[in-house]
């Protein structure tokens, strides 16, 4: 019989399966645009930031057996907690925007010649809504399956692209002005801050010895795959990397094997799109759960209604603002970083150390 909680392994797979894939679309070109050949340094800064955040969270919550919502209510009270939930719900909706928009554009531009707007991402919203109705353990179980697809797709993409990469294009190292490298990091914060998800896993998994190391290592593996992908991308496109909006397609389609055999790289792209669909749905999942918590009702009908309202409003916003996509993306890139840094890195650590102080070892078990 399977116990109904997350396993540490599933959390590890969550980081490996879902976190890197959204960073394969636009992020490499955004970084290359700012930091040029030192884009890897920008990436490393963000990776280390996330790594440090996750390490801090795992360390602080190592003995906590209560979930985030109980911890929050114990420390901040009901009203204070609801404010936190509301802020995080907004943050997750904001965080979901760029992955969804870039996925939508990617699908429109690379997979289809023409298609009515409403058809291409409405089904995605339906999937995200359906996903959001499931319990947390489903995230773990989906991770158990999807990580295999993601990992095999990464491997296929890497093996297709690596032969085109010229590694001396990395040189000279570190000659880009630091403000440019920092700008690359800041602009890419949109795609990072994944450690924040961990606070929602607290108390929902059985903590065993060595779990901290496992979580952190899985995050490192995810970061490494992002780094290798970005590295190969820049080594392939070097001076025109900043012009390549979608690294994912550009890398595979350039492979000489593709020329001879056909577009079998689409197999990997489809797997990664599947993973990225989940990846983009994860922030919406948590936003929906937080909205339900704010309303604070246990009736399944009301829960579904609240979640449906969140999704309908968000879909309407996406449709409404589609024409302003470029401006929103620019805004997110240039100013969104502050919010992403605050909610993705700073606040989770603050919560971790304040909440865990008040938490007793055998408090109310997670549900």
């Amino acid at each position: 019989m399977i116990k109904k909680s997350l396993k540490t392994r599933q959390i590890c797979f969550f980081f490996i399966a879902f976190m890197p894939v959204v960073k394969f679309f636009m992020m490499p070109s955004v970084m290359a645009n700012s930091a040029g050949r030192d884009e890897w340094l920008s990436c490393i800064i963000n990776v280390l930031l996330d790594f440090a955040t996750l390490a801090a969270l795992v360390f602080a919550f190592r003995n906590v057996k209560t979930n985030f919502f109980s911890l929050s209510e114990n420390t901040l009270g009901k009203v204070g907690s609801k404010i936190v939930y509301a802020l995080y719900a907004v943050y997750f909706l904001m965080k979901a925007y760029v992955p969804i928009a870039e996925q939508r554009d990617y699908v429109e531009l690379t997979l289809y010649s023409t298609l009515p707007n409403v058809l291409d991402f409405m089904p995605f919203m339906l999937l995200a809504f359906y996903f959001a109705q499931k319990k947390l353990r489903v995230i773990g179980r989906v991770s158990d399956v999807v990580w295999v697809l993601s990992a095999s797709a990464y491997l296929l993409m890497f093996s297709l692209a690596v032969s085109n990469a010229e590694f001396d294009l990395l040189l000279p190292v570190g000659k880009t002005p630091f403000n440019k490298i920092a700008q690359g990091s800041f602009y890419a914060l949109n795609w990072f801050g994944d450690a924040a998800y961990f606070i929602f896993f607290v108390g929902e998994y059985e903590h065993k010895k060595g779990d901290c190391a496992k979580s952190v290592i899985s995050n490192l593996i995810a970061a490494l795959s992002v780094r290798v992908f970005g590295g190969i991308f820049y080594r392939t496109f070097s001076s025109i990397a900043f012009r390549q909006r979608y690294a994912l397609t550009e890398m595979s389609k350039y492979s000489s094997v593709i020329n001879n055999v056909g577009r079998f790289d689409y197999l990997a792209i489809f797997f990664l799109l599947l993973a990225s669909a989940f990846s983009a749905a994860v922030p919406l999942y948590f936003a929906s759960k937080l909205a339900v918590k704010i309303v604070g009702c246990n009736s399944p009908k009301i829960k579904t209604a609240v979640s449906a309202t969140v999704f309908i409003l968000y879909t309407a916003a996406l449709l409404l603002f589609k024409e302003y996509n470029a401006s929103i993306e620019k805004f997110m890139k240039e100013y969104g970083g502050y919010a992403f840094l605050l909610f993705g890195n700073v606040l989770p650590v603050v919560f971790a150390f304040t909440f865990s102080k008040g938490a007793t070892k055998n408090a109310i078990p997670a549900h």
Binding site: L115, K175, S239, K253, Y254
Partner: protein
């Protein structure tokens, strides 16, 4: 709740079937699509003239002439010209299978990158599409009929993209490589020049002044030594042309050089061969060494390179900038022919010293020619400036503008025969 869910599922299935059967939501299926295999770009007054070779629906029939499978469009931009093709024909131009871009000669006097920029940016064209130029109108190249393939662009690709085991005598490039080179510190790029000439069926000689080996070049000619030439597998392709009784011949062994996107010179067949040697694309290539005196008589040799290790290193200090070009070639004799004796050669014989020396001399001379062309044209096709930046960053500001004039070149060519 359960009942509502069932109703929702039924409604969703109904909607999906509606979409499926209405089949009317702007999709462009296979029969409404023009699958373009190659694009030729020429200038037309102030505009671009884009000629597309269409594999589907026209040229899939083996009896269709290439001319009939071509459609042209014009426009102020490349994108507009392609759109014009769609407007004229009613087919949706699908560029996913376009693997060849031909740039007309008249466009090479301006910035070619302006032409290629559209293809580099759009996601609808593969960045690995080959880019070539020609000595005349680009669309003429697509009109050529050849028995190699009923679609001329496929025949051209066979010449440009050779499988291992053929000579590396074409300096092929693609959209991505051309653009990265254009944007690199060297701002230099190159592409093959493909020409067509009529070859007389009786004497087998080509008439095109720029085709084949030994043609005009910026650098010198060795006269007695050459890269392999003439056969279809080495940069030339022959086929019957329409009604002439002779054969059409593709020649792709010359290379056009570009600086900041503008054509500034070209490499002849031997220089192209050496460019490939220095850029590590040389395995399996054969070199013909003529008139070597061994064992008391003059003989012609054909040697094949089974391993080639090129190395270009740049070394800068405050007083000098040195470029070292080294080439280690491992080869063996494939064929030998003498003027008097009918004895040819035994297999697996060691490479005679005279052949080795002549080959080394041949390669060294060609490298010198390449350097000379770099200096004359300013086209840094060996990417020395980029290497200066990568490996001697400290001295990059000092030499970045005058490196071609001040650089000292050291050449080290070693030919090792089978022992």
């Amino acid at each position: 709740m359960q009942y509502l869910r069932t109703k929702l599922i039924i409604a969703a299935v109904f909607v999906m079937f509606l979409f499926f059967f209405s089949n009317d939501f702007g999709l462009i299926d296979i029969e409404k699509t023009a699958i373009i295999t190659a694009i030729a770009i020429d200038s037309a007054d102030e505009e671009y003239e884009v000629t597309a070779q269409i594999a589907v629906p026209e040229a899939t029939d083996a009896n269709t002439e290439n001319k009939k499978a071509q459609v042209s469009g014009t426009g102020g931009t490349i994108g507009a010209a392609i759109k014009d093709i769609g407007d004229k024909t009613g087919w949706f131009p699908n560029l996913q299978f376009c693997n060849l871009l031909i740039v007309g000669n008249d466009l090479t006097s301006g910035n070619v990158f302006k032409v290629l920029d559209y293809f580099s940016k759009t996601l609808r064209v593969q960045d690995s599409a080959l880019v070539i130029t020609t000595d005349g109108a680009a669309k003429k190249l697509l009109e050529v009929s050849t028995p190699l393939d009923n679609i001329s662009s496929f025949a051209l690709q066979k010449i440009l993209l050779k499988n291992p085991g053929f000579d590396s005598d074409v300096a092929e490039t693609d959209i991505k490589t051309f653009c990265t080179d254009y944007y690199s510190e060297s701002e230099s790029s190159y592409m093959p020049i493909v020409t067509v000439s009529e070859q007389n069926a009786a004497d087998g000689t080509g008439k095109n002044p720029s085709g084949g080996s030994g043609s005009e070049s910026t650098g010198g000619q060795s006269g007695s030594t050459s890269g392999s030439s003439g056969d279809p597998a080495s940069g030339n392709a022959t086929g019957n042309s329409d009604g002439t009784g002779g054969k059409t011949l593709f020649n792709a062994r010359e290379t056009a050089l570009f600086l900041k996107g503008v054509k500034v010179g070209k490499l002849n067949a031997e220089q192209t061969l050496l460019l490939n040697a220095l850029t590590d694309k040389f395995r399996g290539t054969t070199i013909e060494i003529k008139g070597v005196e061994t064992e008391g008589e003059k003989a012609n040799y054909l040697i094949t390179v089974f391993r080639c290790i090129p190395k270009i290193t740049v070394k800068a200090n405050s007083g000098s900038f040195t470029v070292k070009l080294s080439l280690n070639i491992y080869c063996k004799i494939v064929d030998r022919n003498t003027e008097k004796s009918d004895v040819t050669y035994s297999k697996n014989v060691p490479l005679p010293q005279a052949v080795k020396e002549k080959t080394e001399r041949f390669l060294t001379d060609r490298i010198a020619e390449l350097i000379e062309i770099e200096r004359e044209t300013g086209c840094d096709f060996l990417f020395l400036k980029r290497k200066l930046l990568q490996y001697n960053y400290k001295f990059y500001p000092q030499y970045k503008d005058n490196y071609l004039n001040v650089m000292k070149v050291e050449t080290d060519v070693t030919v090792t025969g089978q022992k």
